[in-house]
Symmetry: C2
Subunit: 364 residues, 2 copies
């Protein structure tokens, strides 16, 4: 059983009685002064030997490895689609995505900065031309990002912005998302609002804060916040919804999953949208469950975010001189009206009017 070594330039050169330089130049279309006959012979023999360039050798010569280090956790629809966008775009530009996941692993590798550092080292060891990262914590610049920047290896961040860094960033414009959601509900006349948020997630908080600000700017409108991972979320929510006095008429959920859980709770109370309240999700994830079909939400364009990240990456990697001003790109999410919002229910509308009238009287 003889191990057939992959073909090298040397082998082709030997076969034809020429030198490696000749073969190299012809195959790379460099220094085009070669006899047509030689060109043909070289190309033929390369094909016959199934020659494939050795990226390792090329990389060693100081050239590019045409490999991108990508570290993004394998969590949920959004990041998954982002990775897809990166993968496809890079492949279309002769670049291979070296993907490593930094989410919680099963055994030894618990979820911590050390794992991410290990992965970054693995990728650096392979001399990737640059990085596209989505760190799982906000304070990782001390840990390994600095190592990347010190070496002046191009770096693009996705989804999770690390403020202190001057690296490129591509993500969702959460402020626009929160504002449009609020605007939509306010325009429909809703004044008693609720935001089901995730306090742990900075992106969710950004959306929620924008939502709150917008509501705050509207006279007579109030909003409260509920943390999905807070204590007894389901019970507290049910309590609020049960009582017509406290029941919000408009609900903004920080993602579609949360929205579906809210709809479940409402469903058990025989409440439905948009009859009894309006509800908006976020993310545009296509869940299998039928309720998701009628949930108004926001498309975050995750695939486009991935594409944009890949393009930012390629821009850096191909630049002759390092770019100094980072490119920050926040993509506007788009509201998808699927019919889970509508006008304020009549009973609630009457109550609202009364309150407004009172306000007008008690105001100085």
């Amino acid at each position: 059983m003889k191990k057939s070594k992959p073909a090298t330039l040397q082998m082709i050169a030997n076969e034809l009685g020429v030198t490696v330089t000749t073969v190299s130049c012809i195959l790379n279309n460099k220094g085009g002064t070669y006899a047509e006959a030689t060109r043909q012979k070289v190309l033929e023999t390369a094909a016959k030997f199934k020659y494939r360039p050795n990226v390792l050798a090329h990389g060693m010569r100081g050239g590019k490895t045409h490999s991108a280090g990508v570290m993004i956790r394998n969590q949920g629809y959004f990041l998954n689609r982002v990775i897809n966008g990166i993968h496809d775009t890079l492949l279309n530009h002769q670049t291979l995505m070296l993907l490593a996941w930094n989410d919680r692993n099963h055994h030894q590798l618990d979820w911590n900065p050390e794992v991410e550092k290990l992965i970054v080292h693995h990728l650096l060891d392979r001399r990737v031309d640059g990085f596209i990262l989505c760190s799982s914590s906000e304070n990782f610049d001390q840990c390994y990002v600095s190592e990347i920047l010190e070496r002046h290896v191009p770096l693009v961040l996705v989804d999770r912005e690390l403020k202190s860094l001057n690296a490129d960033f591509i993500g969702t414009d959460n402020v626009v998302g929160g504002e449009v959601a609020a605007r939509h509900l306010l325009d429909l006349g809703h004044r008693q609002l609720l935001c089901c948020s995730l306090q742990q997630c900075s992106n969710a908080v950004a959306r929620q804060e924008a939502f709150d600000r917008m509501v705050g700017d509207c006279a007579g409108a109030t909003t409260q916040t509920l943390d999905f991972f807070g204590e007894d979320f389901h019970e507290v929510l049910a309590g609020i919804l049960k009582n017509p006095e406290t029941r919000p008429t408009g609900i903004f959920c920080i993602n579609d999953y949360v929205a579906l859980r809210v709809l479940e709770v409402a469903n058990r109370l025989e409440l439905s949208a948009p009859r009894d309240f309006s509800i908006i999700g976020f993310g545009g994830q296509r869940f299998a469950e039928p309720a998701a079909m009628n949930l108004s939400t926001f498309d975050q364009y995750p695939y486009a975010i991935g594409e944009a990240a890949a393009h930012a990456y390629l821009r850096h990697v191909r630049a002759k001189v390092a770019h100094t001003t980072p490119r920050i790109l926040r993509i506007d999410p788009k509201f998808l009206d699927k019919g889970s919002t509508g006008p304020v229910p009549k009973k609630a509308a009457r109550k609202q009017k009364k309150l407004c009238a009172q306000d007008a009287i008690t105001a100085p």
Copy 2:
């Protein structure tokens, strides 16, 4: 803006006035005859310079690249978990998974063997130590798998078995799955059965055929098959379920998604499991929708399959001489009873008895 090159052995050697050989041997614990003082200095300086070995150079010397070429499409829970298992296991063994997805891409790269070939070439160019693949079609051995085998690069197949090849294979034991599903329903007394399958998917067909065979071996039991991607699946199914005469009392669905769609159709007809019929899914995917909570199904242990694939890979890559007999591993899926199966409904049971009695009479 000076580009700080990554540290090399040469730099460390120069710093200390020794040679690269010394540094190399000390850092790799080779040829242990070095003065303790030198050892210390070398280790210190390496740390100071943040030295990282150049995997490219190591690979060029004929050594391993400690990179595994993995091509598995990014489709659904099962394969996703498989990839996770591979990723974690390899990382625990100082090997980086170079993941490429071969599912339908957005733009130019349509879903075809050429894309897979392109990806395999990309990976070969990076001199991966071996491959773990899940090809998206059954007849790809002609296309690129042969190239891999010709070079005697280790190859492990996952989930989708390519019969003609003598490569390792790790996947689900579909025969066991189909048989256990049939056994379970038959043991509960069900005799009128239905299998909702996917004719396109060889794994689904394998489960269905095992199911059919088992049912065929049981006197008085019958089963019919419905293709989920067939014409008017929903209408045809509704027709069958509506009529108590034709309604099966036991349904085996080839995966959980199909099962949930079946439950939806039944739900609209005011039929529910296990009251009106028993139903079993396959895959154990955790869907967000509540109906999934109570669906009896099979766990395929996708993570374990990934781990096993990684171990098979490592076994090959680390072997001094090539293994000749391929390792075939089919992991038994495990039935998860979540309560969607039960005894035959009384009405249907009476009908069954009558039929059996008739059979007894008409039989010779």
